[in-house]
C-alpha cells in the first residue's frame, strides 16, 4: 500500500516536472530537435537538470542500500551493447522525431490534448503489445525480456 501511494506521488511529481519544464509540449520538443531551424535549447537544460539530480539520487540510494519501502534496489546491471539496443533506440528516435511525443509526456497530456494524446497512446500501447508478440528469438536473443529500465 505504501509502495503504491509513494509511486502515485512520485508519478505526480514526474508529470509536474514534465509540464513545468515544457517537455510535455510536443511543439517545444520539436523546436529543440530542430537544430537547423529556430532552435530552442531549453530541453538540453531539462535533461541536464534531470540527469544531475538523478545521478545524485542514485549515489544516495546506493549508499543507503535498502530502499525505504522495498527489500532491495532493482536496477539494471547489463553493460553490454547489442543490436537490439541500437535498433530499438533508432526506431524510438524516429517515432519521437515524427510527433515530438515520448511515453511520459504522452501520458501526461492525455487530458490537455485528449484526441491527439489518446490516439498516440493507443498506438504506443499497440506497439508495445506488438513487441510482446514478436518471438524474442528473431530479435537477437541476447536480452532477458522484461528486464527493461
Amino acid at each position: 500500500m505504501a509502495k503504491t501511494a509513494s509511486a502515485f506521488a512520485v508519478g505526480l511529481l514526474f508529470g509536474l516536472g514534465l509540464l513545468v519544464s515544457g517537455m510535455a509540449d510536443p511543439a517545444k520538443v520539436l523546436a529543440f530537435l530542430d537544430v537547423t531551424g529556430r532552435w530552442d535549447p531549453s530541453l538540453a537544460l531539462v535533461m541536464a537538470g534531470a540527469v544531475a539530480i538523478s545521478a545524485a539520487g542514485y549515489r544516495l540510494a546506493r549508499r543507503r542500500g535498502r530502499p525505504l519501502l522495498a527489500p532491495r534496489l532493482d536496477v539494471p546491471t547489463r553493460r553490454d551493447l547489442d543490436g537490439r539496443l541500437f535498433a530499438g533506440a533508432a526506431i524510438f528516435g524516429l517515432g519521437w522525431g515524427l510527433a515530438g511525443l515520448c511515453p511520459g509526456p504522452a501520458l501526461t497530456i492525455l487530458t490537455l490534448a485528449p484526441a491527439e494524446a489518446v490516439t498516440f497512446v493507443a498506438a504506443m500501447v499497440a506497439g508495445m503489445l506488438l513487441f510482446r508478440l514478436v518471438p524474442a528469438a528473431r530479435l537477437k536473443p541476447t536480452a532477458a525480456l522484461g528486464a527493461d529500465t
Binding site: 509502495k3 503504491t4 512520485v10 508519478g11 505526480l12 511529481l13 514526474f14 508529470g15 516536472g17 509540464l19 515544457g22 509540449d25 510536443p26 511543439a27 520539436l30 537547423t36 531551424g37 535549447p41 531549453s42 535533461m47 537538470g49 540527469v51 538523478s54 539520487g57 542514485y58 544516495l60 540510494a61 543507503r64 535498502r66 530502499p67 541500437f86 533506440a89 526506431i91 524510438f92 528516435g93 524516429l94 519521437w96 522525431g97 515524427l98 511525443l101 515520448c102 511515453p103 511520459g104 501520458l107 501526461t108 497530456i109 487530458t111 491527439e116 490516439t119 498516440f120 498506438a123 504506443m124 499497440a126 506497439g127 508495445m128 506488438l130 510482446r132 522484461g146 527493461d148 529500465t149
Partner: protein
C-alpha cells in the same frame, strides 16, 4: 534561438530528476516510463499496482499543475492523426526493443553512468534530430 525558457527548464528538469531519485530511494525502482507502462501490459503481478499508481500520477499531473499555477500549460500537437498513429507505434515498439525511452535511458540510465543508456540516448537523439530535419526542411511537412 526562440522561446528559450532556461529557468523553468532547469526547475522542471530538477523535479523530474527528483522524482526518479525518490522512486529509487523509496521503492527501489527505476523511473522508466516505457518499462512501467510495458509492465502494466504484462500479466498482473505484485508489481502491477505501483506501476498503475505511477501512471495515474502522470495522468493527473495537469490537475495538480492547475491547482498550483492557476492555469494550464500550453500544449500544441502539430502532427496529423495518421502521423500520430505511426509515431506511437514506433515509439512503443522501439522503447521496448531498446529497453527504455527518454526517461529510463536518458534520465535514469545516464545518471547511473550506464554505457547502454549513453549509447541508446545518443542514438535516439541523433535519429530524432535527423527525422525533424527531413520532415521540416527537406519534405516540408
Amino acid at each position: 534561438m526562440e522561446g528559450f525558457t532556461p529557468v523553468s527548464a532547469i526547475l522542471g528538469g530538477a523535479m523530474i530528476g527528483g522524482s526518479a531519485s525518490l522512486l529509487l530511494i523509496l521503492n527501489g525502482r527505476i523511473a522508466g516510463i516505457s518499462g512501467i507502462l510495458g509492465g502494466i501490459l504484462a500479466p498482473p503481478s505484485r508489481e502491477t499496482a505501483w506501476r498503475a499508481a505511477f501512471v495515474a500520477g502522470l495522468v493527473l499531473a495537469p490537475l495538480a499543475y492547475a491547482g498550483l499555477e492557476g492555469s494550464l500549460p500550453p500544449v500544441t500537437v502539430e502532427a496529423s492523426f495518421p502521423l500520430l498513429i505511426l509515431a506511437g507505434l514506433l515509439v512503443g515498439f522501439g522503447a521496448r526493443l531498446g529497453s527504455g525511452c527518454t526517461s529510463g535511458h536518458g534520465v535514469c540510465g545516464i545518471g547511473r553512468g550506464s554505457p547502454r543508456s549513453l549509447a541508446a540516448t545518443g542514438i535516439f537523439m541523433t535519429v530524432a534530430v535527423l527525422t525533424v530535419l527531413v520532415m521540416r526542411h527537406l519534405v516540408g511537412a
